[in-house]
């Protein structure tokens, strides 16, 4: 089975995000980049399916030159080859324009399923997976925590998280799945894996080789516009409630009722 894994390079979750004074974006100096944690679940799941059924795990990402590092990480984990959409024209893409570009390149591949993270932890849009499915005319299942391919490889049985429980869903393949924490424990790349990854294919795709008109990609092809960035609202300084423990607890309950009016 051929499995496509869509992935994204994002700032490390340890990063302290600072908004530029003019609100035009975030300060990107000194940011350390990692593979989006939810994409790691996608890579791991693809490798497990491949190990069971054979076939290829193919990574696809869109991003600047540095995004190659994330592809190399996935290749070192065990993926077979990768595709890198990299062109200044792709910059500033919203969820729709991103899904459109990914769909255009994935159309040219043969595959049985597509795995995405449930969302990227930078923009937090949770949009590309289902939008990609729509543009490829495939079904999708979001927030997958268990994925079983049927013996005929034409269907999958999946578990997904819902509010207050989980749902078991049967879906025809090919389909798009978005991966949620709990699906698996992603492996670390081994040293031989890292060495092998250096020789694996990273196929660059630019605007010309993608084959979409310039007004359908990047900021020009986006349906939404970001008007401004702002820091989170500041919180007033808190109170440390001291005193004997019983008094402190009593005092806290009193403050929550009388000052915060919350209980």
């Amino acid at each position: 089975m051929n499995i496509i894994v869509c992935m994204k390079q994002v700032p490390d979750t340890e990063t302290l995000i600072k908004v530029k004074p003019d609100g035009s974006g975030i300060v990107t100096d000194d940011i350390k980049y990692i593979m989006n944690p939810y994409c790691e679940f996608g890579v791991e799941e693809a490798l497990r399916i491949k190990e069971k059924f054979g076939g290829q795990a193919i990574l696809v990402t869109m991003g600047p030159q540095r995004a190659v590092e994330t592809l190399r990480t996935g290749l070192a984990m065990g993926a077979d080859r990768s595709i890198h959409l990299n062109d200044p024209a792709f910059e500033g893409a919203d969820g729709f324009a991103t899904a459109k570009a990914l769909a255009e390149v994935i159309k040219k591949e043969t595959y049985d399923l597509i795995l995405c993270g449930k969302q990227a932890v930078d923009d937090d849009m949770a949009q590309v997976g289902p939008s990609l499915a729509e543009l490829l005319n495939l079904p999708h299942v979001t927030l997958v925590t268990k994925l079983e391919i049927g013996p005929d490889k034409k269907k999958a049985k999946v578990e997904r998280e819902i509010e207050g429980g989980r749902e078991v869903i049967e879906v025809s393949l090919p389909a798009v799945f978005t991966c949620q924490k709990g699906l698996n424990e992603p492996r670390y790349a081994s040293l031989p894996g890292i060495m092998k990854a250096k020789k694996k294919e990273v196929k660059p795709i630019n605007l010309a080789t993608l084959g979409l008109p310039a007004d359908q990609v990047g900021a020009a092809g986006s349906k939404t516009r970001i008007l401004k960035h702002t820091p989170p609202p500041s919180r007033p300084p808190g109170k440390i409630i001291s005193g004997e423990m019983l008094d402190a607890a009593k005092n806290l309950v009193k403050l929550l009722r009388e000052e915060a009016k919350i209980i």
């Binding site: 700032p11 979750t13 302290l16 995000i17 969820g95 729709f96 899904a99 932890v121 930078d122 923009d123 937090d124 849009m125 949009q127 590309v128 289902p130 939008s131 729509e134 543009l135 079904p139 999708h140 299942v141 979001t142 998280e161 819902i162 509010e163 207050g164 429980g165 989980r166 749902e167 078991v168 869903i169 049967e170 879906v171 924490k181 349906k223 939404t224 516009r225 970001i226 008007l227 401004k228 960035h229 702002t230 989170p232 919180r235 007033p236 808190g238 109170k239 440390i240 409630i241 001291s242 423990m245 402190a248 607890a249 806290l252 309950v253 929550l256 009722r257 915060a260 919350i262 209980i263």
Partner: protein
Amino acid sequence: MAKGIWVFSEVKDGNIRKITFELLSQGKKMAEKLGEELVAVLLGSGVEGLTGRLAEYADKVYWVDDPNLAQYTTDAYATVLTNLLKEHQPTIFLCGATIMGKDFSPRVAARLQTGLATDCTGLSMGDNDLLIAKRPIYAGKAFIEVSCPVSRPQMASVRPNVLEMVPPDGAKKGATIKVEAKIDPASLRTAVVEVVKAAGAKVDLTEAEIIVSGGRGMKGPENFRVLEELAEAIHATVGASRAAVDSGWRDHGDQVGQTGKVVTPNLYIACGISGAIQHLAGMGSSKIIVAVNKDPDAPIFQKADYGIVEDLFKVVPVLTEEFKKLLAES
């Protein structure tokens, strides 16, 4: 009139979810400013009885009743909604940033070739008919304001618990209009085989009004019992830090933070949580934050409105008793 602000009415276990009324309350204000109608759209099976409450807010209620809509499936809901939106071409379409809303909205937006702002925490009207949607990025470490300048409808999913719910004045009685679903069952590519409810499931973290959360300081899964008892007393949902989840003490679904759930309760009580940056991002928009930790230098105290520097195992049981006393009095 016509065009309009449309609100998706989400049904769970036979009832309309609170987020729907939050959206209708906000939608009413925006519709008045815009001079367009407020429309509620309701999908399900045997849902006619629910239309009355929606008509107290909305000028029109489109309701679609079909056995294929009894259980949520992406294909059925996305198809019915897209057909309605194509026919009526409203200015704005809003839904909850719930698991259901977040599942169908990107597909509907892609089919309509329009813009979507997901997981919004604020909505306002800009110039002309422009919707300005405010939403967190990096789990709340920053915010953006987004618009959808050209294509219509402008779509947004909004997080539960952030918009103010205004009860209807009782004067309004919108028209209820039944619409045929026209679903071809063969076009449904997913089928729900089973729904498993979590044991003792309370309100989900993303819509809980009070959350009691435990971290590494809980020392083990069995100790969460003290938090469960506190939660029971004040009708809260129990959450956990990544440290507690990765130690296997709590389910993945309980995790609050950048790689878990981003929450906005009225009250968040953090017990034995030091406050890693990813956790602070995920709960930093809570209205009131209480921290209990024996380390006075724990970063959680930087975010907390009220802090007690003490061993949580001493404080929490006393707190539970004090809350019980207070709630018994009132």
